[in-house]
């Protein structure tokens, strides 16, 4: 029986030794995929789009790729409100530190005229090889947006513990389900750095959350169907103080103004914008990265957005209380 046991071990070991380390390629066959990116800003006639192709490299560092993936020669058309706007292709210079040395191929138009009507928006790109990429959306169809700021001016003795903003739209149709809102309160300021004046801006969180790792700034989220945003005065105070954090000479800072900005975007762009880098812990190992696209026949993003903003009054005595000008 001892021989049986030994024979078993030897047999299994011999079998196993036949293949001690198999090689496997984490890469499948290269897949050629085209990427269309076009974000329409509805308050300007100038719009741009890009088309690139996927690529592969030897190894696993994509930054070693030097063959420019952005392609020219495609026909891009934008359809909306019974109009067709054609994009033109051109090339623009890249930054000096870009890994691609040739000018970047882009497509542009300066003939886009927005409409206050709720219209369908469609983009179609026909590539030089005949492949078609397309995407559909709805133009942000708001005739006008009004924003009220309550409890202003921002002062040392505020009327309320929160600074509230409400907004509404005049629309030709009551349907605004496809509109996503990203409210922002921004402090614009100038820093005097050795005589050099640097323009900067500071976003104000809605509040600071108490967490185990200290105070965490919480910013407004992108949401559909919301009509108001409230910023805690405490958050504004902290944001004002953080502007010159660690800087003893407060008078080097000048507050230029405060703006409440409302970004309105369609669902496709909102999804893409919301998809942020996923934070993992040290031990969890995630093998796939999240991705989102609304491009038929390829990857990328097609969406549109607009920005409405108002100046928010801020009291001089409040600015001075931080030592700023």
């Amino acid at each position: 029986m001892k021989k049986t046991f030994l024979a078993f071990i030897l047999t299994v070991s011999a079998l196993a030794f036949l293949s001690c380390e198999d090689q496997v390629n984490p890469k499948a066959d290269f897949e050629e995929v085209y990427v269309l990116s076009c974000i329409i800003r509805t308050d300007t006639t100038y719009q741009i789009a890009t088309i690139s192709r996927s690529y592969d490299v030897n190894g696993f560092d994509p930054t070693t790729n030097s063959a420019d993936p952005f392609i020219k020669g495609a026909k891009i058309k934008l359809f909306y409100d019974n109009k067709v706007v054609e994009f033109r292709d051109t090339a623009i210079a890249r930054d000096a530190d870009s890994r691609y040395k040739a000018p970047m191929n882009i497509y542009y138009t300066n003939k886009f005229i927005s409409t206050s009507l709720p219209v369908a928006l469609r983009i179609e790109a026909t590539l030089p090889n005949g492949k078609v990429l397309s995407a559909s959306s709805e133009l942000i169809s708001i005739y006008s947006v009004y924003i009220n700021s309550l409890n202003v001016p921002i002062s040392s003795n505020p009327l309320s513990s929160k600074l509230n903003f409400t907004w509404g739209e005049w629309m030709l149709t009551p349907n605004s389900k496809g509109v996503y809102y990203a409210p922002e309160l921004v402090i614009f300021y100038t820093q005097d750095k050795g005589g050099v004046k640097i323009k900067k801006q500071k976003k104000v969180p809605v509040f600071y959350a108490n967490t185990t790792s200290g105070l965490l700034p919480i910013y407004p989220q992108i949401q559909a169907g919301i009509k108001s945003a409230a910023f805690e005065m405490d958050a504004i105070n902290r944001a004002m103080a953080e502007i010159s954090d660690g800087e003893p000479q407060k008078s080097n800072y000048k507050i230029d103004g405060v703006v409440f900005r409302l970004l309105l975007m369609d669902a496709g762009l909102a999804s893409y914008y919301s998809l942020q880098k996923t934070f993992l812990d040290e031990f969890s190992v995630r093998v796939n990265q999240p991705d989102v696209t609304n491009i038929n026949g390829g990857l990328g993003v097609f969406g549109n957005y607009t920005i409405k903003q108002i100046n928010v009054e801020i009291a001089r005595e409040y600015i001075n209380s931080f030592g700023y000008n």
């Binding site: 001690c20 496997v24 890469k27 690529y55 790729n65 919480i218 989220q221 970004l263 942020q276 957005y305």
Partner: protein, 740 residues
Amino acid sequence: MKKFTIVLFLIASTVILGQNRGMLRGFVADSTSGEALPYANIYIPEIKRGASTDHRGFFLMASLPHDKPLTVRVSYIGYETKEYFMYIEPYIVTDIRVLLKSTGVQLQTIEKIGEKVAKENATDLSLQKLAIRDIENLPKGVELDIFRALQKLPGVQTAGDVSARFYVRGSSSNQNLVLLDNIPIYNPFHALGIFSAIDPEMVSSVEFYKGGFPAEYSGRLSSVLKVVTRDGNRNNFSGKGSLSFLTAKGLVEGPIPGGSFIASFRKNYSDKILKKFRNNNSIPADFYDLFAKVNYQDDEFMQDAKFTASVFHSSDKVFNNNIKREDFKWSNTTLNLNYFQISDSPLFYQVEVGYSNFGGERIPNESGAKGVVNEVNDVVMRMDFSYVYDSKDELSGGFKISEVHNKLILENFRGQQKDIGSKGTNISAYLRYKLLRWSFLGVDFGNRVNLTRLAGGGSSYFLEPRLGMTIRFIPEFAFKSSWGIFMQDLSTISDENEVVTIFEPWLITPLYLQPSSSIHYISGFEFTPTPELSFNVEGYYKLLHNISVLNERKFFPYDNDLISGKGEAYGLEFLSRYMNWPINLSASYSLAYTFKDVDGVRYAPRYDARHTVNVSLEYDFGYGWSASAVWTYTSGMPFTQMAGYYERLTIDELDPGQSYLTSYNPFILLAERNLGRLPDYHRLDLSLSKKIQINNLKLYFDVSALNVYNRKNLFYFRRDTGERVDMLPFFPTATVKVEL
């Protein structure tokens, strides 16, 4: 379904009238410790009938002739066989208490005849019963581990060396119900899931249903692992201590007036060994578990009754002592009060109140990771009964009330926290009838009625009918089949893209989703040409509906965290065993196909291994020496390959002043999900054990070598670097145990 339940009642009422022969009821225990011996064999040669003790050491044989003397032969692995010559009293239950003396001799042929006869019409398809002795003979590795022992069974899959989590017949690991003395444990793992939290020293027996489990079990879609703990030595005080490269542990047990107690404690003292499991990356894990149980069984105070109280606690911490890195902690706690009563008639019943708590937390510190707080508090009250008719048929039933409070606080990428947990009560009742009156046929049918859903309570009617059948055409050959519908209303939100997860947070299925359900169709046969040799073949087909899947396309706060998916699994399993002292050889092969369907995409999940082979050989050299070898082969697991890269527009802020022309960054282009396959996995583990006994002192030495031929089994690739991360390399280890 109502008709199904009514029929069940009618059958029960027709046979309740026929008590006209004798019954034998017995309790089998170790003569030294008084500890119950689960799955001992009872055989009466005059009538060629047999039985097995249950996990409490009890057996009951009905419809015995009372007009002639019978030989009752009781045997158990490693114990002297005992024979009793007795007359069975008519119309009443004759009780017998059997104390067997340990010899260390292995199971002999005559005893297996008893086992074989006891199983002749048992509806035990997909059921594996393991006494702790069966598990102890496997290579211990770093720690003897029940979960890892299960992974050697056909149909049970693992995600790799680094995890004791198991996947049964194409189901995810959260679809396995793990019961410790009937109380569920939600995360029974230590050290990132590398080891199970249940110390085998406290275990008496294990019952493992791979599918088609009967109506008394509920709450999971796939399998049931029922761990029954020991009662402790009723006669003498004794203690055990053991040391491995990872943990030190101790156990004390002994008598108390009218009963016994047992207490065990295990603690890791080093995390160095864990690095081997993670490609030499440090795991600063600190864990312990403890278990204590008292039982009281005094016939003067409570006749034929037994009261037990037990507590279990496991705690894990992974603290990095670095504010830039996140910390983790999680724990399980169970409390159990059980009252078990044997009545004068062939009736057993038990009343049980239990509590299970799981708490887990990811503390992000300043790492950039997101915090998670998860808590499950489950209070269970249940009553079960079992009645054996003179016809040998059995009726059992019961009800269960489970109050679950669940908290799951998640933090989104903007730092906002939200508790998406809920609380509720599940009320259910079941009835089960086992038709065992004919030796060639066994039919087990039952039904469980769930009256409420956990999420928000309220009424929600869900039936879980179950059916099992065994037809023994000839003594050597039996055909078995089972079918059932299973429901699960509490699951984990595990990210399938993560190959290593610290803990999987539990969540009551929200009301916007239907409870998950599955249907099992299982058939197979058992062939035992000789008492030493057996072959089992099982085929299964499993459908999964409404399985809760993490919503990978949750972009906005109001998007649901979970979405509903479907699943399908089917396969064929072969198991052969040859047990003839000093050899114990088993070989198994499983062919399995598993698919998930989420968001219209059908893919094979990570644990879909097409072919699995396990070969295990144990050899007893005598004089306390024994050796074992286990070889495991699994064909490659699925993974998603890369198909290239593309330039992706990155929008940090939708700022009016930002130019998107320079905001392109390389992004990995993935091929179709899980279409690639990792290389095959195989590994050979060897173990050599020596037992030395000096009077009452027993010493156990075990030397194991894991992955003896240093197979480089691939765990995963790092996509950013292409670095290959392998599983456990060649790894020698040893344990020593002292028992007094």
